[in-house]
Symmetry: C2
Subunit: 345 residues, 2 copies
């Protein structure tokens, strides 16, 4: 089969590699229909974070090709959505909805023996615990694109909103206007926030943010941005803050605008972040978040997509195929695209 | 009147000072019945934290002596419990239950014009927003001692438990066996935790912890303590952690034992604490907490005290009078007492 292979920074090649095979009775092989590129893949692409030479990608949807003898919930031909992490769905962490901490789990596209999602086929460990079936067939491309976002980006935006305790009728601030930040806007709207404020300087992203429910766009950053948010929230501060970037500056901004009692929901992987233990304490500002337990959120979010209540697939503004995966990375790297979709089969 | 006056480290004198008078129409004057010494007062006593030369103390209960013309909820003779901070109970922060962030509020015993609680009389600003009435009279000394804890220590322990999201049937770990840590044990029990684990090395404190619901005592600290907690929780980690000390070591321990998805409820004022932004992220460990909004909790906790469901006054194991306030500090400083009660009138 063909698969995207990370070679070195700025070099993702499509190579012919052996087809994956069932290794354990709980495995399934998925024929990938669509995959995409994550903001975190860009860290590897740019050489800022390390990645092993080998398969890459962790967001994919597809059709069951084969199942191991112990797979009970899926059969060949089922349409499935995969979270970016596999999990047994039975360990104590899975049972309370934190599948990304599964004691038997790991991430696709990372680690010695884990397949990447940007490929024609993927071996999925713990298929019963990992995959979610989309009942039906004959889905439109738009619908499939929305399914694909549940694999990571939309579930991550939703995790930001859940972690930040977004409440019906309250306000919510999203720091970051990348694909995750935009998904957080959609999630805040879904959870009933009335005032949705996004920090954004990019016109195309602002447009999608408004379409998805943002009521205020703040172009200022740092202290100036915090001031504007304070003005919008009548000097009270934000009821809920979603940190969707992960830099020192974006975190400082996020914590500074939280009102006393509010929680900063962090989903931006932290890079040289400093959390002030005293200021957060004296203002009773909390934090939660981390890698999104997408598996816990997919069933509910899938229902919302199928009902047509949310259309997170709109976050994709660049489409290519597996042979041109390198271009999918370049488009995001050069900010020509918010997020790149790869049609695989 | 007589009042405790902070002079310098290790020197708290009882002095004759002018009686407080109504300064604003929203003030009340309270004749103090009982006051006590806080762990945070000890920081001043020991010279580790700065305190202005002047009135000290912020925990007191008493009887309304006089009210300003705009005080609607109280009249002379009412028995009242005062939180350690005064608040208007109408600002946006008060309205969501974070009275310690009141835009018009401040703390007793701190600031230029704020009376201290260790005195015969206290001027209470925003009496209607600050005080809580205890209906009835002729309360036993034990009942009064329990009322007094609502002013700070019990409300602070409860804030730890609420912030840590202690759940019915779950486990809860309390780091710290001071008066606040013990109150956190009682709070975890009140919120329905089934397994209550306290880190403690002091026999008298262990005894009270067990009486209040602790199921496990862990004497080990640091990594060794974390290991023991992991063993008790079947390698899963703590569902809820309450940090009731505030040191670097106690915080490290608290964060290290939290299971993925858990929240560390912090009420120990942080001193040189470092919060790891990455480890907390990758394990989805959160934090909340800060100065307890005692005013928000007192009505409910008072009901539990009057029903006899909780008896937090047992935390006092040293009783003296105002003239001997210095001895109340010394007993705590020398660890002869968990917490000192001062009978004022």
């Amino acid at each position: 089969m063909r698969a995207a292979i990370f070679q070195a920074k700025y070099q993702i090649d499509v190579k012919e590699v052996p087809d994956p095979v069932i290794q354990k009775n709980t495995d399934a092989i998925v024929k990938v229909v669509m995959a995409c590129v994550c903001g975190s893949d860009l860290w590897y692409y740019r050489g800022i974070a390390e990645h092993q030479q080998g398969p890459i990608g962790h967001e994919f949807i597809g059709i069951i090709e084969e199942v191991g003898s112990e797979v009970a919930l899926f059969a060949k031909g089922d349409f499935v959505i995969s979270p970016f992490a596999f999990s047994d769905n039975t360990c104590p962490h899975c049972r309370v909805g934190f599948h990304t901490a599964c004691v038997n789990g790991s991430f696709f596209g990372m680690g010695e023996n884990n397949d990447g999602g940007q490929a024609e086929f993927v071996r999925v460990p713990f298929a019963d615990g990992t995959l979610v079936k989309a009942e039906g067939s004959d889905f439109s491309d738009d619908m499939l694109a929305s399914f694909l976002t549940l694999s990571d980006v939309m579930s991550t935006g939703y995790h930001a909103a859940v972690s930040a305790n977004v409440k019906k009728g309250g306000n919510a601030v999203i720091v970051g206007d990348g694909a995750v930040g935009l998904s957080a806007v959609l999630s805040a709207k879904l959870l009933g926030a009335e005032q949705i404020i996004i920090i954004s300087r990019h016109e195309t992203r602002q447009r999608l943010a408004r379409e998805w429910g943002a009521t205020h766009i703040v172009e200022e950053r740092g202290e100036a941005g915090v001031k504007v948010v304070r003005a919008i929230t009548a000097a009270v501060g934000a009821d809920a803050v979603m940190e969707c970037v992960g830099t020192k500056e974006s975190n400082e901004m996020a914590f500074a605008m939280a009102r006393p009692g509010a929680v900063v929901g962090r989903v931006g992987v932290p890079h040289e972040v400093v959390i002030n233990p005293n200021v957060t304490f004296f203002y009773n500002v909390g934090m939660r978040g981390g890698p999104a337990p997408a598996r816990a959120y997919i069933p509910n979010l899938l229902g919302e997509v199928i009902k047509g209540k949310i259309n997170p697939g709109k976050v994709f503004d660049f489409v290519t195929d597996l042979d041109n995966v390198s271009e999918a990375y370049a488009a995001m790297d050069e900010r020509r695209a918010i997020k790149s979709l790869i049609k695989v089969s």
